[in-house]
């Protein structure tokens, strides 16, 4: 009997299919559909706006990356900062020129006595009248709690750099914080502020830090607050009614919608489904040429696209690389590169040539230049070092062909095209370049994971990196000889395996004083050492490209902040 029933159902299905035709997609749903159709007024592709409370409107931002979480001490993704910068605030912030400005506290300085002469004591005077979005007052205890949280071994925070140099934090009253350091930490003013922020003690105290609800729906002092996070879809922020400036923010609501694909994001800009698209890939930026009502905002960044040469054969700094052990070959490589076609044709002229690992900010040395593009000179250098034509245009020495492997994370179109341009340019001087790109996690994996850079399993790496507002950490982790990756435990990023006492001393000196002029001089020495070594060949400065609908105004580029750094001033005109 059961068999018959099942077959009957199967027949009924077929009959429904044959009889129902194309519109029978959801049999039984017909009445519901009609009802919904009658209720719903949205028949176009445009997203419906919620009823505007303050008349400020809703802005939709496309993010190609979903934030990992919104806790500044746990998150590593830039998208996290884009969202949480609207909610969480630091003691100070940075303006587009790289100067510290007041946020939750006045900016401390030696001049007004809030930084001691020896730089070991920093006093913060908190701004009056600030509350968390739930109405609780923001006090000095929150700052103290933030430090205690970072240093608690139970909390797997991403970094303790700088925080570990703090001896104590005292709170003489609710509005005053006195931070005492055990030793001088030159970027001290970035702590608690950039890219981190202050945590609410009254919300997080006694909570399991790693799994707190705060990490997704944070309580903040900023202009907006997170009201909803639909995984994989959208994060919705509404204006914080308790924000200290009643005239801010101008917008009622910001919706971040997750669009992992660049082409899909461009399509949604075109259809007006989103008003802002964060971080457009320079490979597709020409899609916006002539698109009505959309303007691309170009923000310079401190990130530099560069070639990193491996001085070692494999991972051991004691065994020199077969080609790069010779400074002539390193210089020849730099002289064989013509940046013009890369910048003009691949980057549509939206970036400029880089000349230094520190390309922006107070520490960027002025007046540096790259070795001039000179293929003949490059060939002369190679000849001088004994690399001669093997007969097919590629040079060889002692039976070894001058074949070099370049690697970069897969899936980045501009880099892949740049590699092909370099391949041609190097071939012109007799160097064969083979391309071997691998997934980012493989390239940047740690020692135990056999990461290619850590293990020295490459000749040339193509990468992007740049300093923060204070370059101390960047220079140390990338160029200090203590940062050469090695077994066991050594997990720095000096994958060039560059060892220079003069460079180490300059990096050390730059971090040992708060005297800005002395620091500038030290960092100039450091940069010159790096460039003279020829292991770091700067290609171009990366620009950040964000697409804005012309209905949005108030945005401004800030190399030291992220897209939404001043979103409280944004308006939308629908």
């Amino acid at each position: 009997m059961k068999r018959v029933t099942i077959l009957f159902v199967a027949f009924a299905l077929v009959a429904a299919a044959c009889g129902g035709g194309d519109d029978g997609e959801d049999s039984g749903g017909t009445t519901q559909e009609t009802d919904a159709g009658a209720d719903s007024t949205t028949t176009t592709a445009a997203p419906a706006e919620p009823a505007a409370e303050g008349g400020g409107g809703t802005l939709t931002v496309g993010l190609f990356q979903e934030p990992d979480n919104l806790n500044p001490f746990l998150a590593v993704q830039t998208a996290s900062r884009i969202v949480r910068d609207l909610v969480l605030e630091g003691l100070v912030d940075a303006d587009p020129d790289g100067n510290y400005i007041s946020e939750l506290a006045e900016v401390p300085s030696v001049a007004n006595g809030t930084i001691s002469e020896d730089g070991l004591t920093v006093t913060y005077n908190l701004v009056d009248g600030i509350t968390w979005s739930d109405g609780d007052p923001f006090t000095s205890r929150d700052v103290q709690f933030t430090w205690e949280t970072v240093m608690d071994p139970a909390n797997a925070v991403t970094t303790q750099l700088g925080y570990e140099d703090i001896a104590s934090i005292e709170t003489p009253d609710d509005q005053t914080v006195v931070v005492t350091y055990t030793k001088l930490y030159s970027p001290a003013l970035s702590l608690f502020s950039i890219p981190e922020s202050i945590l609410p003690a009254h919300v997080l105290e006694g909570q399991p830090f790693g799994e707190a609800e705060f990490n997704r729906i944070p309580e903040g002092t900023g202009p907006f607050m997170v009201t909803e996070w639909n995984s994989g879809q959208s994060i919705i922020l509404d204006r914080n009614p308790n924000y200290r400036d009643p005239s801010s923010p101008k917008l009622d609501r910001i919706i971040f919608t997750i669009i992992p694909d660049q082409n899909a994001g461009i399509a949604q800009m075109r259809t007006g489904e989103i008003d802002v698209f964060w971080n457009v890939d320079s490979a597709v930026i020409n899609e916006f040429d002539g698109m009505d009502g959309v303007t691309v905002q170009v923000t310079p960044s401190s990130n530099v696209e560069y070639l990193g040469l491996n001085l070692s054969s494999g991972s051991d700094p004691a065994t020199p690389h077969f080609a790069f052990g010779d400074p002539n070959v390193r210089l020849a490589l730099a002289m064989a590169i013509d940046r013009t076609p890369i910048i003009e044709d691949l980057l549509f002229g939206l970036s400029e040539a880089a000349t230094s690992p520190i390309g922006l900010g107070w520490a960027a040395p002025e007046g540096l230049s790259n070795p001039a593009y000179d293929p003949d000179g490059a060939m002369a250098l190679l000849e001088e070092s004994g690399w001669v034509d093997s007969g097919d245009g590629i040079r060889e020495k002692d039976g070894q062909r001058l074949t070099l492997e370049i690697t970069t994370p897969t899936g980045q179109q501009v880099r892949e095209l740049t590699q092909q341009v370099l391949q041609e340019q190097f071939k012109a001087v007799g160097i064969e370049l083979t391309i071997n790109n691998v997934p980012a996690a493989t390239l940047f994996g740690n020692w135990a994971e056999n990461g290619k850079l850590q293990r020295g399993d490459f000749d040339i790496a193509m990468d992007t990196w740049g300093p923060d507002l204070d370059p101390a950490g960047f220079l140390g982790i990338l160029f200090n000889s203590e940062s050469i990756p090695q077994d066991p435990g050594g997990q720095g990023w000096n994958f060039f395996r560059l060892q220079s006492d003069r460079l180490d001393a300059a990096i050390e000196e730059g971090a040992s004083t708060l005297d800005i002029e002395a620091r500038k001089a030290a960092y100039r020495t450091a940069v010159e050492e790096i460039l003279d070594a020829g292991v770091y060949i700067p290609l171009y400065k990366r620009s950040k490209l964000d697409a804005f609908s012309d209905s949005v105004s108030g945005q401004a580029p800030n190399p030291w902040g992220e897209l939404t750094w001043n979103a409280k001033d944004w308006t939308i005109d629908n």
């Binding site: 059961k2 068999r3 077959l7 299905l13 077929v14 299919a17 997609e25 749903g29 559909e33 919904a36 209720d39 719903s40 949205t42 176009t44 592709a45 997203p47 419906a48 919620p50 809703t58 939709t60 990992d68 979480n69 746990l74 590593v76 993704q77 071994p153 797997a156 991403t158 970094t159 303790q160 700088g162 790693g210 799994e211 990490n215 997704r216 995984s231 994989g232 879809q233 959208s234 919705i236 919706i255 919608t257 694909d261 899909a264 399509a267 259809t271 691998v438 980012a440 996690a441 390239l443 994996g445 740690n446 994971e449 990461g451 990196w465 300093p467 982790i477 940062s483 435990g489 997990q491």
Partner: protein
Amino acid sequence: MKRILQAVPLLVGISLVAFILLQLTPGGPTAAYRGIANIRGEDLARIEADLGFDQPMFVQYFNWLGRFVQGDWGISFVARRPVFGLIMERLPATLLLMASGIIVSLLIAVPLGLLAAIKRDTWVDHTLTFASFVGLSIPVFWLGLMLIIIFSVWLGWFPSGGMVPPGEEGVGILTRIRYLTLPTVAVSMVSLSFFTRYLRASMIETMDEEYMRFNKARGLPPTRRYMKHAFRNAGIPFVTVIAIHIPEFLVGALVVETIFTWPGTGRLFFDSAIRFDYPVLMGVLVLGSLMVLVSNLLADVLYAKLDPRVRFD
């Protein structure tokens, strides 16, 4: 019951192989920490110890398995939230897409397959054969992008991605269907073509049987012959094929969800794979394997129910 018990060691085996393969893949979750100048070697070592990466591989596996069977699927390295919750909040979206894909492909494939078999070797059959081979050979990601370009960018009929309009409350059925349409087309195209081909072949085989010729000879009307006698018998292997084929929709969803920004487990898996989020990957893999095993089991049970010649002890 015996077969369900057999599935348990199989699942454990799959999870062990998956775990080893994930661990052997070069790269790891801390690669995401690269490029952040203030995360130093000692910070990485501290984080890895906290997450348990400093343990030997098999210790890590048995720790994971021990917690997994107790219902603790671990914590995502990336989102810092329990994996079980992460997967469960994404699962309904995937099930919806799969169900809609299966229903749509059957609604189209069954009549087309029957038609092709009945009109065998005519222009109708040839056209359908050609069309289904085209459908079988179109890469899903390409089809997805074409659908977006044509139907959302050019024509503006359907949204290019997402499941509901962001930030909108009380979304109606009609809106939901508009968002579901393009992903459903993309996810069902291959299976639709496959089902059509399979049903055609199965029907033709049945129609060539002696009893069918006898039915024709005794003057039964064509409708009765095809629907009652031929389809009924051809349908038995077909139902089994559908059940075995269900995991294909899961695989299809992986690609389609990424293209259409559909917030399902497929995209969760994709995102987690990029970030080497092992606990999430393991959770999705085990769940996926479970779905394959269940659909195979379903196929066997259905086959036994439908075909009186097959009996399990």
